[in-house]
């Protein structure tokens, strides 16, 4: 029921996330983040915060709000590119879009959000 992890020891020769983003290859980004070597590399994720006891105050830090807005922009772009067929409550589809967001914009060597701008626009 559990596999012994094995696989390539490096990503040598594979395009970097920034190159895939420059080429607008969002499907390539999804493949790359799913090809992470789990015994060597982490899985970057951006997780929302939900307080089941009551509302969380809205952030007051401008940088935090700006980053959230930038994440929201790319989340919508990647969702449209990858999972336009998904219901609003399709958790697996939400996870897929958020994984690509995190892999593309905060894994080591990723493209900073401020540079993402209009690059990688979905064809």
């Amino acid at each position: 029921m559990s596999a012994t992890v094995s696989g390539p020891s490096s990503h040598e020769g594979e395009p970097a996330p920034a190159e895939l983003l420059d080429a607008g290859d969002i499907v390539g980004l999804m493949r790359a983040c799913h090809d992470r070597r789990l015994e060597r590399e982490g899985i970057p994720m951006v997780l929302g915060l939900a307080d089941e006891r009551g509302p969380i105050p809205t952030a007051t830090a401008a940088a935090q709000l700006a980053e959230g807005a930038a994440f929201l922009d790319v989340f919508d772009r990647y969702s449209a590119a990858l999972v336009p067929w998904a219901r609003d409550d399709d958790e697996g589809a939400v996870i897929t879009a958020m994984q690509v967001l995190a892999f593309t914009h905060f894994a080591p060597g990723a493209t900073p959000l401020s540079d993402a701008g209009t690059e990688g626009t979905v064809a």
């Binding site: 559990s2 015994e39 939900a50 809205t58 919508d76 958020m98």
Partner: protein, 226 residues
């Protein structure tokens, strides 16, 4: 309760309610240098997140450090969590969060490989050379002095296979009590196999809440429960 959806995620991002997490599993000695480089990159760009930092973020909605926060999570309770991951976190000033399948730690080392293969715990080649694969309880206690340790159920189970009252007590309640007895401190969070969110099943949600967990980690969000 908050169910995962595209709209939920949009609302959370728009309000600034998010945190970065990086999930790891086995961290073998043979890949230590690669892991060190990756964690060093994170430590350079992001701030550590302690339990108190996460509490404050939920209370105020605002992140209070000069760099964004990042939570490195090392799942399952592998022995290499204390021999590789925790020392690297210490060296780099990161706070590691360690969800532990408590029965994996409890299992006789002779049978830990079979336990892993029976319960969706991935192994690397180093784990199959014989000897202990999981941390010992003393090692769990040691990690808890500088990092955050909490149950990942007892047997690495998902809510959909934890069905009877006895199952729930063993996987949700007893795992917490056992961990707290060893560490001498609160086990503040819980996470199901597959990262299922709070809100999937009222019975399981109530069990997590009644057990006294502060947080449930899931694949799209962190739920504050108590």
């Amino acid at each position: 309760m908050t169910r995962p959806s595209f709209q939920t995620q949009r609302d959370q991002l728009a309000r600034g309610h998010f945190i970065r997490v990086v999930n790891y599993h086995s961290t073998p000695r043979g890949a230590r240098d690669e892991l060190a480089r990756e964690l060093a990159g994170f430590a350079r760009d992001y701030a550590p997140v302690t339990l108190e930092d996460l509490d404050r973020l939920f209370e105020t909605g605002t992140w209070h450090k000069d760099r964004p926060g990042l939570i490195p999570v090392f799942y399952e309770g592998y022995r290499n969590s204390i021999s590789v991951a925790a020392p690297l976190c210490d060296e780099l000033g990161l706070t590691g969060w360690f969800p532990i399948a408590t029965s994996f730690v409890d299992c006789d080392p002779e049978h830990q490989e079979a336990f892993a293969r029976a319960h969706w715990i991935s192994l690397v080649e180093e784990d199959t050379k014989g000897g202990r694969i999981a941390m010992s309880w003393d090692e769990v206690a040691e990690v808890s002095k500088r990092h955050v340790v909490f149950p990942h159920t007892a047997h690495h189970e998902g809510f959909d296979t934890v069905l009877s009252d006895e199952d729930i007590r063993r996987e949700v309640v007893d795992s917490k009590a056992q961990l707290e007895a060893v560490t001498g401190q609160e086990a503040p969070a819980f996470v199901w196999l597959h990262g299922s969110s709070y809100g999937q099943n009222p019975r399981h949600d109530q069990a997590v809440k009644d057990a006294g967990y502060r947080y449930q980690f899931a694949n799209t969000m962190i739920h504050r429960v108590n």
